[in-house]
């Protein structure tokens, strides 16, 4: 081989190696580069002490309490489940939660929580001074609030990963979620004009607009919400049956199958609903209430279900 | 010496005059009785003097206009016994009479030893000692009337107003109550203005009568002068016989019209 070519190849090799070395030594995991929703202050690094948001943990927590059903699912998915000692009474997935002590997230008893001697408490909602009270008792509290979009969900998983010393696993889980969801989204044909949907929260019926988390997910999958613009400023409007008739959505999603025993049959039986396109073409999708209201790893299942519904509707038409 | 002068007194309710052009002059120790049919304005006159309704005209007590006085100051000058006084059932007699001392106790203060002495003395004077700690709800009609008078006297006011003081009492108690008032006004030199239905009693106890009709004084003077059967027929619409006793008492006796209507 000519000497100049060797030098050139060696040089390229060196360049590539130095680039890789540089990116490794910055200490930032690959996943965080793509989550552009990460705030500048949160430094997600491996190892303790770790700071996420306002909370700094000195050592790896061994007694974790989760007061959020979504956080519970996330914790178990990233491998921190064996260190969870108590959950709230809505945490029902995975199975292992059945044997755990249940707490009330809406009327929390601070003394009872502190008696369990936790070294990390995760909440999604503060009913009033809870964070302040727990902090006074020197109990570390992290607020994993409801997220606005998918990016927020991925970030939260990684935040929990950092706090529990399961960062690598968390990054794995979130990037797997991301790639699966992206793949499903890409595989759906985006109709033009887009398919319309009605998302039912309860039978009265209350619905959501695209401005909510679940609405945003639907929008990413190329669906148009019939409730958008109906009531300015209200993201959880109660639609009248007339409006639904008039807009005649292509798909109806039921998020009240468990709470309120709704199904395709009960919807078809409602006065006037029998004539809707979604009813006659069998495009009523029954979702699991829990999966539909949480933003944890089971989001993938939700997206898959929605995608299947879209595909089948497009196939019929 | 206190004197009560009323000139051109006028009281209006919603644009309607219930009293107009009333003139009177009273000196200490005098008892004026207001008579007249229902709605004549007797109560309105008393309430105007007590500061409970607005009036126009000139009312002066001892040369000072009543209208210019504050609630407290007026309460020290005029004591008002309403027709149906409110007597809280579980208040003690002593506490109730003590209410009359309110115009002399500062708003945020307590009653003084002197106030307590005055109340105790009054209770003795009106023969209520036995009832001093009794609760008002346990008293009979006659006793209640004495208690209310005691409260009015506790105000130490030179003017005493009585609205139908006898309507709820039986004959015996009526007499007792009126005798009591008479005795008190002489001993304390009070100016007494009362409104009464019973014309005979009115004439018997008061010095002068004022007959009101539709808000206007239509007759004034002694019982003999005012209580005449023509006068009564005209303003009361009653057919009555007026008898003059030897001792000066004027007795009004309603007559049955003999089956003619």
């Amino acid at each position: 081989m000519k000497f100049s070519r060797l030098v050139g190849i060696a040089g390229l090799f060196l360049l590539a190696a130095s680039l890789v070395a540089c990116s490794e030594s910055s200490g930032e995991s690959v996943a965080t580069d793509t989550t552009n929703a990460v705030a500048a202050e949160t430094t997600i690094v491996e190892g303790f002490p770790v700071t996420v948001g306002d909370l700094t943990l000195e050592s790896k927590p061994q007694r974790i309490i989760s007061m959020s059903a979504t956080a519970t699912e996330m914790l178990f998915a990233i491998g921190a489940g064996d260190r969870v000692i108590a959950v709230d009474n809505f945490s029902n997935f995975p199975e292992e939660t059945a044997s755990l002590e249940k707490l009330d997230a809406y009327q929390p008893n601070v003394e009872a929580i502190s008696e369990l001697d936790p070294d990390l408490v995760i909440i999604s909602y503060d009913p009033g001074n809870l964070v302040e009270q727990l902090t006074t008792l020197s109990v570390p509290v992290f607020t994993a609030g409801a997220v606005a979009d998918l990016a927020g969900a991925y970030e939260q998983i990684e935040q929990l990963g950092a706090l529990t010393g399961q960062l690598a696993e968390a990054v794995q889980v979130s990037s797997t979620m991301r790639s699966e969801i992206d793949a499903i989204a890409a595989s759906i044909t985006k109709a033009d004009p887009p398919l319309t949907y009605f998302y039912e929260l309860d039978p009265t019926p209350y619905t959501v607009t695209s401005n909510t988390f679940i609405g945003g997910v639907m929008a990413v999958l190329g669906l148009a919400n019939i409730a958008d613009g109906v009531e300015e400023g209200n993201d959880y409007p109660q639609l009248s049956a007339e409006v639904i008739m008039e807009k005649d959505p292509d798909i109806i999603f039921l998020a009240d199958t468990k709470c309120c025993a709704q199904s395709a049959e009960t919807v078809a039986a409602r006065d006037g609903w029998a004539g809707l396109t979604a009813v006659t073409s069998g495009s009523i999708v029954a979702l699991d209430d829990d999966i539909a209201s949480r933003w944890g790893p089971r989001l993938v299942d939700l997206v898959r279900t929605v995608a299947e519904a879209i595909t089948s509707v497009l196939a019929k038409s | 010496m206190n004197s009560l002068t009323i000139r051109g007194l006028r009281v209006e309710y919603g644009g309607c005059a219930v009293l107009s052009n009333v003139d009177e002059a009273l000196v200490a120790g005098e008892w004026l009785c207001l008579i007249g049919p229902n709605g004549a304005g007797k109560s309105s006159l008393l309430r105007a003097l007590a500061g409970l309704v607005n009036f126009s005209g000139d009312v002066q007590l001892g040369g000072r206009p009543l209208g210019a006085l504050s609630n407290r100051q007026l309460a020290r000058q005029v004591a008002f016994v309403p027709q149906e006084p409110e007597l809280p059932a579980d208040m003690s007699v002593t506490d109730y009479v003590m209410l009359g001392r309110n115009p002399y106790i500062s708003t945020f203060g307590r009653e003084s030893a002197q106030d307590r002495q005055i109340v105790a003395d009054l209770i003795d004077e009106l023969s209520l000692s036995v009832y001093a700690r009794r609760l008002l709800g346990t008293l009979s009609g006659g006793e209640r009337q004495r208690v209310v008078i005691a409260r009015a006297l506790a105000q130490e006011a030179p003017v005493l107003l009585l609205d139908e003081p006898t309507s709820a009492l039986d004959l015996g108690h009526q007499q007792h109550a009126l005798e009591l008032v008479d005795q008190l006004r002489r001993s304390r030199n009070l100016i007494v203005v009362s409104a009464m239905h019973d014309l005979t009693l009115a004439g018997l106890y008061s010095d002068r009568l004022l007959l009101l009709h539709q808000g206007v004084g239509v007759a004034r003077g002694t019982a003999r002068q005012v209580l005449r059967s023509e006068t009564l027929a005209e303003f009361y619409g009653v057919s009555a016989r007026v008898i003059h006793e030897d001792d000066g008492t004027v007795v009004v006796v309603p007559q049955r019209s003999n089956g003619e209507y």
Partner: protein, 352 residues
Amino acid sequence: MTTPTVFAASRGSRAIWWVLGAVSVVVVGLLGLTLGPAGPTWWRVPLAVLDRLPLVSIDSGVTDAQWNIVWQIRAPRVVLAALVGAMLSLAGASYQGVFRNPLVDPYLLGVAAGAGLGATVAFAVNRDATATWPIDPVPLAAFVGGVIAVALTYTIGTAFGRSRSATTLVLAGVAVTSLATAVQTFVLQRNNDVVRQVYSWILGRLTSATWGDVRLVLPYIAVSAVILLMYRRVIDVMRVGDDEARTLGVNVNLVRIVVVLAATLGTSAAVAVSGLIGFVGIIVPHAVRLLMGSSNRIVLPLSMFVGAAFLIAADIPGRILTSPSETPIGIVTAFFGAPFFLFLLRMREVRQ
């Protein structure tokens, strides 16, 4: 109210009730510090409290962490319960005095509805914008709402001519309450996601009591209580009715305004931190009257003691019975309220 006895109690026998009142507050307060689902064993707590007194040193065996529970979690609850209980009872007794009706409660003139509306609005807009505020907007909004509602009631009530009677005010209060409730329902309809929080607030709770809350309400309640207690002799004079009280030298309208304002100030502050705790303002003054007669000179201050002890006591079962959850205190007081009114009903039947 019919008379339970023929004679009024003498001065001497009344004095003992003050002592009993004060002692009961202290005893129940200590109980409140002692009982709870966590923390040190119960008999260690009084020892720990004594240990904290200057010049006293006892080994109570209570760790710092456990003492934190007693002092940082339970103590503010007990103190707040005492303040709120005393305030609501005093306000209730004062209203009952100036409106001459033993069944009015401190929420009469629209305070409850106004505070509820304020809290609802605060919850509805309490999103990211206000999350960074140094003070919690909910108590502030509740307080402002309560005061505005009563001001509105007073304006409406006195605008209709000369009839400044108590009844007119009460009717105006009903109107304002209806309006505020309607607006509140409308706001909730448009902000469905905060229904749960609003409901929880309305039920009343002392769970989230902190020393900060105590500091927040103390000045308002103190000022309100002082004013109301100062007027108690005059409120007694008003027992004979507006007209007679006027002839006795009382400026009835002024007294009523001042009492309403002062009571509203204190009640709004109490509601702001503890939500709508019902029944206290009616039950306590009524019970005191049954025992001591209707003289407001005694009923007003004694109601404060009894109200404080009552609410401290009512707070205890809520945190123990359903642990690790909490039962809102409004439910506990309601549980007391129902049988109490039945008892009152029965007493009236017996008398008649």
